[in-house]
């Protein structure tokens, strides 16, 4: 499709397990963002990739969170040793280099049991 694609749409896992969330940005968009949205809340910035520059990781809440972007396109957000407070919707957005607006995917709803 033409939009940002995220997978899986839902993920349920046990506390302590690792999870990987995937984001396929809009073709040609060099900027990619990850946000987290807790129930009934606004979006919280996690990490930002722009072209070949070093990512801005200033929003990652702990060292259990990491993300990579391969080939300047697909990105994976990894959460290690998941905790119940990690339960949230993880949203990915992309945009043209140095431009707005950001276009969002529908997110991955992560539930930690």
């Amino acid at each position: 499709g033409a939009g940002v694609s995220q997978s899986p749409s839902n993920k349920v896992t046990e506390k302590g397990k690792d999870v990987e969330l995937r984001c396929d940005p809009i073709s040609g968009h060099t900027a990619l963002y990850w946000y987290r949205q807790s129930l009934g809340q606004g979006l919280e910035f996690l990490i930002y990739f722009q072209g070949n520059s070093a990512p801005d990781k200033s929003g990652l809440p702990s060292d259990r969170f990491s993300a990579e972007r391969t080939g300047g396109s697909v990105s994976t957000l990894t959460i290690q040793r998941t905790q119940q407070e990690d339960s949230a919707v993880y949203l990915c957005a992309s945009s043209l280099e140095g431009q707005q607006p950001q276009h969002f995917g529908d997110g991955t709803r992560l539930s930690i049991l």
Binding site: V4, A31, Y33, Y35, G40, Q41, G42, L43, E44, F45, Y48, D56, G59, L91, A93, G98, Q99, Q100, P101, Q102, H103, F104, G105, D106, G107
Partner: protein
């Protein structure tokens, strides 16, 4: 830290009436503002944006007003329709990097 906030968490309007959703921001250095609409189970959908060198911008049935003096942003929806029911977020941006979001306003359109 500085953040974007919303005046009202919920707003109910009659179908056909105009809606006004307000937002306050605190970072005077922000140069870009944006409104998103989020329906249940979906990601935020871009509605309209405005740069800090403008006071007003109009789209289809929507208008965004920016008052930099009092750091206030509003979204006006004309002739509100049932399909407009959703959560609306404002967000601010500096130098085209990450967006800082407010907590959202739930708009309910009454028949």
């Amino acid at each position: 830290g500085e953040s974007v906030g919303l005046h009202l968490p919920t707003l109910s309007v009659q179908e056909g009436d105009n809606s006004i959703i307000n937002c306050a921001y605190s970072n005077s250095a922000s140069d870009y503002f944006i409104w998103y609409k989020q329906e249940s189970g979906k990601g935020p959908q871009f509605i309209i944006d405005i740069r800090s060198n403008m006071d007003k911008r109009q789209g289809q049935r929507v208008t965004v007003l920016l008052n930099k003096t009092v750091k206030h942003l509003s979204l006006q929806i004309a002739a509100t329709q049932p399909g407009d029911s959703a959560v609306y977020f404002c967000a601010e941006n500096i130098y085209t990097r990450q967006l800082t979001f407010g907590s959202g306003t739930q708009l309910t359109v009454l028949p």
